[in-house]
Symmetry: C2
Subunit: 339 residues, 2 copies
DNA sequence: AACCCGGATGAAAACGTTTACATTTCACCG
DNA sequence: CGGTGAAATGTAAACGTTTTCATCCGGGTT
């Protein structure tokens, strides 16, 4: 049924070996025969059977991506970055996402076994034990946004610390001496780093002020509660830095209800630059994460890990973030309009 | 290096055929030997070489998804639906997205050749000719959101028409006799269907009123311009239905600048239910599209097309939408708060 | 006791490539 | 003109499965 290398060989009156060589660009074949074979292959619409090739070469030209249940923008951007880089390298992308728990993730990881040359892993369930049990050590892998320190895998993180540090500094620079922080879940790696960035920036640039931290869990609701707490506080704050945008949105709602004006009475900032951030009123100052870059870098790391198996692992890399200043931290009377 | 079926066979003192049978659940093997083989396979961490298997079975257990350059939420939800359904069926998902033009899409489609058992195709560049040239007719495929009428492939569409029809009716029901429409790009299939839904609902439920349509192109800017046009109009409208949410957002901004209050002076509705919709002020009434369902249905269609190659194609299916009523079309004094 | 039948197992072919090794060809040199 | 070596091409093994067909074995039937 399907046309194989034999059909091409017969038609071109050469051996299958020559066809293989011609099509794979081996130098050991005349330009003339290469031409003939190529044109015949094209005419017959021959396409090599990838399974047969994989069987002998032990390469699938495919990278697997293991992702948790991610929200909209982040997921899209990450895949975009990965996909673009993969296509540039001629690699395919096998995706398995939406894993609710560690068992699902483990099953998915094992199912990819042998179908991929390397893996991109982003999952809150991943720890050293998990990997040892579910990932053959021969498989190159890159861990995204993981607290894990591994010599076996590359680790690629967002610079949560740097972003939070810079944002805290921005709020202090704008003259808001008292900056409060709304934290994320205790066990969340991103949240921990962001809080650390806040603390250290406070210590460095406002040594006299004390850091003030309200607990949250990244949900809008928790931001709302934190906002109520802060609004009622005896010592009013001049600026609030939420560990993510959703909490900032909730906090904004609480402030509105309490009659606090943003940014006139209190400045507000978030983290992530979700699409909503620029459309709420006032538009939210936040930290933009270059998610597509994260995906691209991750793919490139795993690609080189595949090409050069012996090479030393990178130290854990981090990817820079940008502070994006919008109306919520800018009391200068400019109209609130999407940036 | 890697453990093969031979290693398991040797260890179990049995032929490779028996191992294959035992592991694939063939009835022609004693429960006792099956047990023994299974436990040995587990102990050796044997995992069948998928390429070798594909070579002989002609199946890859993989579905390919060809997607254009999609924006955040839509992409994520679609993949989520596809991914979940794929996992339920034990299928893998090969993704190729972010295609800017027809040539890129064609290249990606051809590259997937032989690596997948079936395809999910969502692309503005797809027409009959494109498919004939790039998709082997033996490959089962499902077209998403395509204007194409094909007997060869299943086609799965969002019920743009029904959603727009229902929304127009909702706006009319609320007493807003004059409903204007902001259209999308002329060549866009979704936009055409939505406009048709609006027109026919107007003709059916408000035969005396004339349909009033302002051109747009799905961008926020175009919504803003349309809003200015509508605000200045000599005959003021009581309700505006934008063909997508982004234009509704732009329109809202124009109305705010013109001093028009939403919903008191004019009701406003969009289409898509993007995440932003519920966070703007007032929250936007819109049509929710069940994107994950679209993905799930598409995957299930292609899966059955693979399992039962001979069966008759479905007529083009459409997936229902829901009208989501929020503050922007509800002048009842309820507080504006996320739903 | 000869026969047959069905169930469990094994031997080997087949899938479509790549590649190590063998063979042919041919120009060039002594 | 035979020999040499490099370049081009061919032959066949190998990759790890699944599956067809053959074999073996035990028990029931005649």
């Amino acid at each position: 049924m399907a046309v194989t290398i034999r059909d091409v060989a017969r038609e071109a009156r050469v051996s299958v070996a020559s066809v293989s060589r011609a099509l794979n660009g081996s130098p050991a074949v005349t330009d003339e025969t290469r031409q003939r074979i190529a044109s015949i292959a094209a005419r017959l619409r021959y396409v090599p059977h990838s399974a047969a090739r994989s069987l002998i070469t032990k390469r699938t030209q495919t990278i697997g991506a293991l992702l948790p249940d991610l929200y909209g923008e982040f997921f899209s951007e990450l895949i975009r970055g990965i996909d673009l880089a993969a296509r540039a390298k001629g690699l395919h992308l096998l995706v398995s996402s939406s894993h609710g728990d560690a068992d699902e993730a483990a099953a998915a990881l094992r199912a990819m076994q042998g179908r991929v040359d390397g893996m991109l892993i982003l999952s809150p369930h991943v720890d050293a034990e998990f990997l040892r049990a579910n990932l053959p050590e021969s498989t190159p892998a890159v861990l995204l946004n993981s607290a894990l320190k591994s010599t076996q895998f590359d680790v690629l993180n967002i610079d949560n610390y740097g972003g939070a540090h810079a944002m805290t500094r921005h709020l202090l620079d704008a003259g808001h001496a008292g900056v409060a922080f709304i934290g994320g879940p205790d066990d969340n790696f991103d949240a921990q780093q962001r809080e650390r960035g806040y603390r250290e920036a406070m210590a460095a640039f406002a040594p006299k002020a004390t850091a003030k931290i309200v607990a949250g869990d990244f949900s809008e609701e928790s931001g709302y509660h934190a906002g109520r707490v802060l609004a009622k506080d005896s010592k009013p704050v001049r600026a609030v830095f939420a560990a993510n945008d959703m909490m900032a949105v909730g906090c904004l709602r609480a402030f509105a209800e309490a009659g606090l004006r943003v940014p006139q009475d209190v400045a507000l900032a978030g983290f992530d630059d979700i699409p909503i951030a620029r459309y709420i009123t006032p538009a939210l100052t936040t930290v933009r994460v270059r998610i597509a870059d994260l995906g691209r870098s991750a793919l490139e790391s795993v690609a080189t890990a595949i090409e050069k198996p012996g090479r030393a692992r990178n130290a854990a890399q981090t990817l820079a973030c940008d502070v994006v200043v919008r109306a919520s931290s800018r009391d200068d009377g400019r109209p609130t309009k999407p940036v």
